[in-house]
Symmetry: C3
Subunit: 271 residues, 3 copies
């Protein structure tokens, strides 16, 4: 399967090695549900996570960090204020940040907050098909709570438009993940259906993209690498797991054990 | 053992099948400690959970949902305001909601908030014996933090009174679980003592009751089914577990694997 | 290896037995990331945890508790107010409390809050080397987010000064843990490097110290016991674990199974 970008198994392994060598500090302003899991996933991969949300300290903390993750999963007004301060500080210092517009389309607060943040120059926006369709302006698009009601392929053309409009690399995740900067597109075919039965693995994908952006300047490569780390680890974990409880455990072990050989053997680029 | 209601293994399996077919959206306003676990338990069972608490969006979100779970485990004033808005919206739309009065009796804030919410027409109130005794007005009843100091049987008569006074189906959980609408009572004898060494399994029971209420109109059957899903999965998990860490993992796997045959073989109705 | 205090394997086992017999209520005002894990660790050990943070109820709740854990990991202004009320109430009632100054040195808010709390007579302060160096006033000390950039031995002399200045027993954790009241010092050599790949095990150590302080008046013995419970369980868990996901699970099982024989066989006192 030909790849339309410079993303490859080798590129993915190079990003992984850089994360392990440099252990970038990844600042997360994320939701209560996934804080523990995403911190553990970042640690298992080799990054150094921190969860810091107070409006009084986010600017100072961003300045210490190599990337920033903004996730609106359990939104409230004080957190929106902190997110805005943090993204401004990141932009001022050229620190890459990634937006996860959890549940955009479900409520006015979510849709407006996600749209406002999308205009603040994120390096990447990662969502499911429903969320990306909402952000791209598809009229009447509704999510089912925080789960997508649409296939990722349905959101590919809108994702390209959103990428061109915002300057972000846009990732639409689902059975197939698409990563696009509006011109080039990478399709990724790893993962396993049981992953949808574990809460917050989309949020974990976003966090791992944050780690990749901290060490890799080619944003398309960074985003595709971050998604691939999760999809590969999830796929390996699912093969060992009778259910979603086991999958979460084996996923962290697999992230810890992930290496260039496994990436070369398993990575499926193209659709 | 004769059952004094229409609850049975068959009824329980019918509720499970309906959850898996319809994947109801269950809106949770719950505590920080258990958000991840209860989301995972709902996903493992087959429901679609969302954790949404901002006062600006709870009304909109309730309107998308098939049921609502209110849990006061890590209470604060802004969350109480959101709980009140959400329960009003649920009642206006005839969306069933369940109350978990965590720690009622421990502090004035908890006791008063739980009592206020209990008067707002929940479909179900689920607590341990101490919490139900407090809500039923037993003078001087004190919980030990968030753990019960009393047997569930001690709270059975007060539970019946509370059910008649509020219109809710009341569930008192412990080694034996009792479910009552004030007239009929179901006793459930599944579960395992090691479950008390895992945090938030009472909260998980409440969340699974929320999923059952979303698909089953007979509330006594729905509540007994929700409690049975957890007790059966916990019992199966405990048999495979040398300690509470393993139990949490196997519990999610067992919820995912639960089927009519297992329910028929294991369910113990009656005391 | 000679021990310079009354801490010993026997003393450690006595503290463990007291926790299991008395099941002390440990009140935690802690961070969102670790609430679930630390509650589970306290339950697995035999204590009764509660997570309660609302400014309206912390005084009442402290009065029910046998110890208090204050952890500033995900700090914000309303939580600082609750922490101050809770520590005042604890001091007024002679209830021991332990401070975890997570990320002190990373931001002004954290450094100032940690320093303020350290002056409020905690029974124990537990941090990594960077945090203790910051609290002891080392000029220009910077943490890397919430992870230490220094060896625990670097912080030993400052830890002694901090102990004398505050009256707290100070614990610096790392590959070797040091516990000092400023005069006597205990070094503890259990644990495993993989523990650093699981989020919040430092916070878990602090919570277990809280449980030990609830039952043991000799604070040096209590703090060394709490750290030893975690280090021993983590070491046992790591031997069974291919990665950090497995380690978290086996750690809870090992805390549940910990006994006097294992403590006697494995405990390494001295450096």
């Amino acid at each position: 399967m030909p790849s339309p970008s410079s993303f490859s198994a080798d590129a993915c392994s190079t990003v992984l090695a850089a994360i392990r060598t440099r252990a970038p500090l990844v600042h997360n302003i994320t939701n209560y549900v996934v804080m523990n899991n995403t911190a553990n996933a970042l640690l298992a991969l080799g990054a150094s996570p921190a969860m810091v949300h107070a409006v009084e300290e986010v600017e100072e903390f961003v300045a210490l960090s190599q990337s920033l993750v903004i996730n609106i999963g359990t939104l409230s007004r004080p957190w929106v204020a902190a997110m805005e301060k943090a993204t401004d500080a990141a932009n001022a210092r050229h620190i890459p940040w990634v937006l996860d517009p959890v549940g955009a389309g479900a409520t006015t607060l979510r849709t407006e907050t996600a749209a406002d943040l999308a205009r603040q120059r994120p390096a990447c926006i990662r969502g499911n098909a429903s969320e990306i369709l909402v952000l791209a302006g598809a009229t009447g698009e509704k999510t089912k709570g925080v789960d997508s009601t649409r296939d990722s392929a349905d959101a590919l053309a809108p994702a390209r438009q959103l990428a061109l409009a915002t300057g972000a690399v846009v990732a639409v995740t689902g059975p197939i993940d698409y990563v696009t900067d509006g011109r080039q597109t990478v399709a990724l075919a790893n993962g396993h259906p049981l992953m949808a039965r574990v809460t917050g693995l989309g949020c974990t994908a976003t966090a791992l993209v944050g780690a990749a952006l901290a060490v890799e300047k080619d944003r398309l490569v960074a985003v595709a690498s971050g998604l691939s780390f999760l999809a590969l680890a999830g796929e390996i974990a699912a093969e060992r797991s009778p259910g979603p409880g086991s999958l979460q455990l084996h996923l962290l072990d697999a992230l810890h054990q992930l290496d260039a050989e496994t990436i070369a053997q398993r990575l499926k680029i193209g659709s």
